[in-house]
Subunit: 237 residues, 4 copies
């Protein structure tokens, strides 16, 4: 295992979680970095037009066209995800696309009752965003619940591929990303969340979910820093 990475500088939750609360976590040893393993997989979750609309717009405008959209927040993450895709393709590591499966009347479950709007997404909204769309060698994971592991064959794929580290990108930070990170950690995969390659409709919730994941389940770091770690893995190859 490569040595764990200590993230420096400004963190996404600075100014949102008060210092008095940060001190409690610091004093009791939460959020220890665990580093990457040798066999990472990249998860690109729900990067479909339903989650960002067809073009970069402020979220207040974007939701008028596509109510499930995160607007510009999503579009800003795309180039970072694209760089991770490129890095994974160059080392031949697996890329998986857990994505929202189109919902029929049978899918009106508890989540759909909480959020009825998800039943109204137009067909086009389920298309993958072209800039980071899957290639034939990638693995598609249609899913019906928040976690990419819940009710899907994801665990079987990861075990079969010998993966030890899961990189979680996409959206939303407070929804499918968070749920997936919890499950990946519970299964004892190492987990990394590149903080600027995930996105949400609420920036406050985005930041606090990054804080929660960084303390409990995942190493949270900028994409730039993750790319350096991936190059180390490739070099150690």
């Amino acid at each position: 295992m490569l040595s764990a990475i200590k993230t420096q500088g400004r963190r996404p939750w600075d100014g949102i979680i008060p210092e008095v609360e940060l001190a409690i976590y610091r004093k009791t040893g939460w959020g220890t970095p665990t580093g990457l393993g040798k066999h990472p997989a990249l998860l690109i979750i729900d990067v479909q037009y339903r989650s960002m609309g067809d073009e970069p717009l402020p979220i207040e405008e974007a939701i008028k066209l596509m109510p499930t959209s995160c607007g510009e927040h999503g579009w800003r993450a795309v180039p970072r995800i694209a760089r991770l895709v490129e890095a994974f393709r160059s080392i031949g590591a697996p890329i998986l696309y857990p994505h929202v499966a189109p919902k029929g009347p049978q899918n009106r479950g508890q989540f759909e009752q909480k959020v009825p709007g998800v039943m109204e997404v137009p067909q086009h909204g389920y298309d993958f965003v072209a800039e980071v769309a899957p290639q034939p060698e990638d693995i598609l994971i249609p899913k019906f619940q928040a976690s990419a592991f819940h009710g899907t064959p994801l665990t079987s794929y990861l075990v079969g591929l010998g993966v030890d580290t899961v990189i979680v990108t996409g959206c939303t930070t407070s929804g499918c990303v968070r749920a997936t990170a919890i499950d990946a950690c519970a299964l004892n995969f190492k987990v990394v969340v590149p903080e600027d390659a995930v996105y949400d409709r609420s920036q406050t919730s985005h930041a606090v979910n990054l804080f929660d994941m960084a303390n409990k389940y995942a190493d949270v770091m900028p994409t730039e820093q993750l790319l350096i770690a991936l190059r180390q893995i490739a070099a150690a190859g």
Copy 2:
């Protein structure tokens, strides 16, 4: 099904999630209340001395004696949990205690590497808090991960008992409560989180996790309001 409950008045996340973000959720129909079913189960998660210390102290003091403690935040939740226990006993509905199993060296997994302190909890810390401790007819669910469903027989118990609604209490809001609510929703149980019967070490994270759950996975309401709904179930029974 009883009619869903519209929560009134001040919400725990007011003043933390800005109005401009709240407006986005409101406009796009997140957080619709779904109501309770007919067969609720009460989950009391991790209400062990490890999560609140032996007596009510401010969290800054409590963590000096028990680093995993939430201090007074936990102690304040105990009487609300006790009222729910009483209500469940009076209608003969099941009470389950998912709880942290003592950790041996074999349990040093991804979570324990993120939070090494959880390996150092003294044996006494695993005892149930006396005020709401299990009775012989209750169901104990030792667990090793955040979600009460992960790697446990909880789903089998709930199916066998014919449960359709899961009430989640205990701690932490941003840890095991959140992870359990996600899984319960993904399994299509109705989910209720009584906002003052769950607790955390960060009040900001507590509030934002309630916001996330209220929008996506659970009906979030004060214990008082939930007790009224439970009485309606008993009367309809």
Copy 3:
């Protein structure tokens, strides 16, 4: 719950499991019938042309055209499954179709290495057998492993529908039917396997798997007897 059904007369495993072994099970109380609950669901597993070929042929001939075929054994089960479908439609109870998803190169897992031929099934082999094909209101469950529960949202559907009893039909008795019955029992659903509505390529393995399931996991009975029980449920409605 309706009173459990005691199956009379000749059993499928008579003449295969020796009397001396049957006596051991009898003396120690295995195979107690548990009866149906009030809310059954019908699973029709893998009733696709891949599992029986395009027309009824002896299995020795059928495998020359479709190597995964069970030949006539499958075709004989179809009219019994059709009667169950009719019964379920008449009472408005849910019908679910767990079925083999077409396999791409990414699906070459442990099972596909044991049975390389499953990678070569022609596209037409994945079509549902017309006599019992799904209608728009039915639920499709593509699956990649033997059990209809493994890596699929089946549990979520059953919980959401309030199902308490799972009827397992289709194929193969020693493969997906057995694996599904084990999981359904483990989840505390009541399980029924109509012995002449499931099929296999080995009649010996078919019979012994029915024996195993009847003793441990499921009530095993002829379709005729199950239809009577379903009428009782409808009448009690």
Copy 4:
């Protein structure tokens, strides 16, 4: 990966599965050996006195003292399991003990209704058989259902340990061994069942379950042959 092993000579199901049925499997390519990986784990399932009684007796006698006993069939497997334990200890590979957890009234689920006798096992019956009992460094997995994976943290342990191959020993072949092999295969672990280190109350069912597993889910071989493969792993290590 080591080259897969082609098992020679007499197979446990010879004389039980007729040649005409064996020919169908042979012609259509079932039961291809897949070999071991580099990181095996040994599962010793339910080798507790409840499954074999206190001393070797013919099963007909043994069930009078302990109704869940497999009698001599179990005792014959013990020295083979002991040799595997020794081999695993010598290479420092993990040994896990999925075992039947004592059953309280809350555990009267679907399985316990099929087999009421399992509720009556005396406390001593839950003790591990001394000859192959766990050491402090081994991992205990209490379980309530047939599969060692169902409702347990077994997957998390195997992922955390970097295991790629699961060796399944213990009992019963037609119960917990079979259920565990199905799940291990579904998760894409390589699976080996040493045919003389697993046991059952019915010799017919034992043989047919080995046949099913050998064709679909696992490499089935004598313990002697597995020990050779393990020595190759140790030498390559």
